[in-house]
């Protein structure tokens, strides 16, 4: 197993450090009056005391859900995510259903920082329509933007493949998690990790420390179950400790306006954000295989 119990103690995701925590009345189960939106509009059932709890959709693609449904979604999406790693939408859903309090904490962090406040007010998005990839390709080698498009091409991914947010019942927090999803690829570039399972687990551990999202922690803990023992050894001894150290030493990466920093050299940016370089993992050949594996 890659994750050690010792790692979890200093985690910064204490959910009650947020000063703005508000316990809204939560829908446990949808009531019968909520099923018929038409009867709601016509006034039937409006006299019932539960009628006010119904939240209409707060943003496009928003699907209001009750606590029971969120619990079911959590269990279902976790089960599917671990069995079928190609279902990225399930990991996204898991993040949305479990991440409410962590997102409130991130929002507080963003509000406390001037760049974070700017991001929250301007709400920049990263997709092929808002970011000009051709322009980034024309940047000199070694710059952040150029390394980003190189990474996209090397791993055959596009910034358009992020699923829209559906299950967060707050409009601003929906933007926060959307922003997190869109800069996930930038984290890969900054950390120098590919999109294979090993790289993803490392980045997830890094994000778990940075953001405190339970989905990241779960991904980092259960993701390695799909790896071979050699990869798990590498993860446990090199990548995970490095990811945790990097997560703690780095500044809050949600407060960085990446679109304005594409022209900066990558190494300087990493130094500024206090991200250490990737670890040197010794190549395990047939001769040193057994020696390396002796615990």
């Amino acid at each position: 197993m890659a994750a050690h119990s010792r790692i979890f103690l200093p985690f910064r995701f204490a959910i009650f450090t947020s000063q703005n925590i508000r316990l809204r009345p939560r829908l446990i189960l949808l009531k019968a009056e909520h099923y018929s939106r038409i009867s709601h509009q016509e006034g039937v059932g409006a006299s019932s005391p539960h009628a006010e709890e119904w939240t209409p959709p707060l943003y496009q693609e928003h699907v209001p859900t009750s606590l029971f449904q969120k619990a079911l979604l959590t269990v279902g999406s976790a089960a599917v995510a671990i069995t079928d790693p190609y279902r990225h939408d399930m990991i996204a859903v898991l993040g949305e259903t479990t991440g409410y309090y962590a997102l409130m904490r991130i929002r507080d962090q963003m509000k406390a920082d001037p760049v974070g406040q700017l991001i929250l007010s301007e709400r920049p998005r990263i997709n092929t329509r808002t970011v000009d990839l051709e322009e980034l390709r024309n940047l000199p080698e070694g710059t952040f933007g150029r390394e980003y498009v190189n990474w996209l091409d090397r791993n055959d991914v596009t910034p358009d493949s992020r699923a829209p947010v559906k299950f967060i019942d707050d409009e601003e927090l929906a933007y926060v998690i959307q922003r997190y999803r869109e800069i996930h690829d930038l984290f890969h570039t900054l950390l120098g990790m590919p999109t294979n399972m090993l790289g993803e687990c490392t980045v997830k551990m890094f994000e778990a420390v940075q953001t405190g999202l339970p989905m990241c922690a779960m991904g980092a803990v259960f993701g390695p179950l799909r790896l071979s023992s050699r990869q798990r050894w590498k993860l446990r001894n090199y990548y995970i400790p490095w990811a945790v150290r990097a997560g703690y030493s780095a500044k809050c990466l949600m407060n960085v306006y990446y679109e304005k920093r594409f022209h900066e050299p990558l190494e300087e940016l990493k130094a500024d954000l206090k991200i250490p370089p990737p670890p040197q993992v010794p190549k395990s050949t047939s001769s040193n295989y057994s020696r390396l594996y002796k615990r």
Partner: protein, 340 residues
């Protein structure tokens, strides 16, 4: 006036499709509310799409989109949502239909082919049974070898009977007569059905046609049985679909419909509602990455008329001996009518 409203009138209505006047009991209040779903809004009429209100012209397109999205995972989702019970419903449906070899069946909205496959297997089983029973009894060929026949010129009673039976049983004729045509408006569903037919080895026995239930591309009086399973609630104009069913059936033909319906028992109803609205969309999201289509599904079930009202609609289309059979306390119902 409340008193007037509660009086029930016997009103003569001309059946929409058959030009036959049927007498049906209608309450005064019902007459005014019968058109509530077809509100005139200028020139565009509005109808329901689940719990939303949309224009009638949009509904067919939106339903088409829903089924294009769900086609690939349709069968898995059916099993997951109903915990496999839909298979029992469809088996019961085929038992009620009880087709004889030689029936021509039109299965409308039969996309992935569940009913059609059951029909083919049923006919094959019936034919096998008949061959077995006839094979056991029939030893001689009385028409050709008559050495052991009686001295009188007349055939014996046994010979007469056996010859009749023998005359009826020619396998090739029966196989030619039994036909099933699967009609669906959505090509993706038909493609999924064709794949399944290939896997089951039934591809030669089936015909797949794209068509709208409201305007079937078949001639009048051309099929002996018309079935529609879990499809009629998605049709924009149910009355039109019923009229088309009446048109394509031969006299004596049977209309059979399997559809979700209303549960009358309040305890079961509350459990069913809870399950429908809480669990089914979640299953849709987790298994098929599609919350909205399955939300539409459970909402469209609630918007469909109940057993009695739907039976009345079938009667208005001209069918007679309209009956219905509840399955699983009304979660599903089989409606049956004859064109006689």
């Amino acid at each position: 006036m409340a008193a007037l409203r509660s009086v029930s009138l016997r009103v003569g209505r001309i059946c929409r499709c058959s030009n036959r006047i049927t007498v049906s009991r209608r309450n005064l209040s019902e007459q005014t509310s019968s058109d509530e779903t077809d509100k005139e809004e200028g020139t565009e009429r509005s109808t329901h799409f689940g719990f939303e209100s949309i224009n009638e012209s949009e509904k067919t397109g939106k339903v088409h989109e829903v089924f294009s999205n769900v086609a690939s995972k349709y069968d898995i989702m059916n099993d997951a949502m109903s915990l496999g019970v839909h298979r029992l419903w469809k088996d019961r449906f085929m038992q009620v239909l009880d087709p004889l070899p030689g029936t021509r069946l039109l299965d409308v909205a039969g996309g992935t082919g569940d009913i059609a496959f059951r029909f083919v297997n049923w006919i094959k089983q019936k034919e096998q049974q008949r061959r077995k029973t006839s094979g056991a009894e029939f030893r001689l060929n009385p028409l050709e070898t008559d050495e052991s026949g009686s001295d009188t010129g007349l055939p014996s009673a046994e010979d007469y009977l056996y010859s009749e039976q023998r005359g009826d049983l020619s396998d090739t004729e029966e196989k030619k007569d039994s036909k099933v045509i699967i009609c669906d408006i959505n090509q993706s569903m038909l493609e999924v059905g064709k794949e399944r037919a290939k896997k089951l080895g039934l591809e030669d026995d089936l015909v797949w046609v794209t068509g709208n239930a409201e305007e079937l591309p078949f001639p009048d009086n051309s099929v002996d049985a018309y079935t529609i399973a879990f499809g009629i609630r998605n049709v924009t104009h149910i009355e039109k679909a019923l009229c088309e069913a009446y048109r394509v059936l031969t006299p004596g033909g049977r209309f059979l419909c399997l559809e979700f319906s209303q549960v009358s028992n309040p305890l079961i109803s509350s459990v069913y509602d809870l399950y429908s609205f809480q669990v089914i969309p979640v299953l849709g999201e987790v298994i098929a990455s599609d919350w909205k289509s399955y939300q539409y599904l459970v909402e469209s079930i609630r918007r469909f008329p109940n057993q009695e009202d739907f039976a009345e609609m079938i009667r208005e289309a001209g069918f007679r001996m309209v009956t219905y059979d509840n399955l699983t306390s009304g979660v599903a119902a089989i409606h049956s009518g004859f064109k006689i």
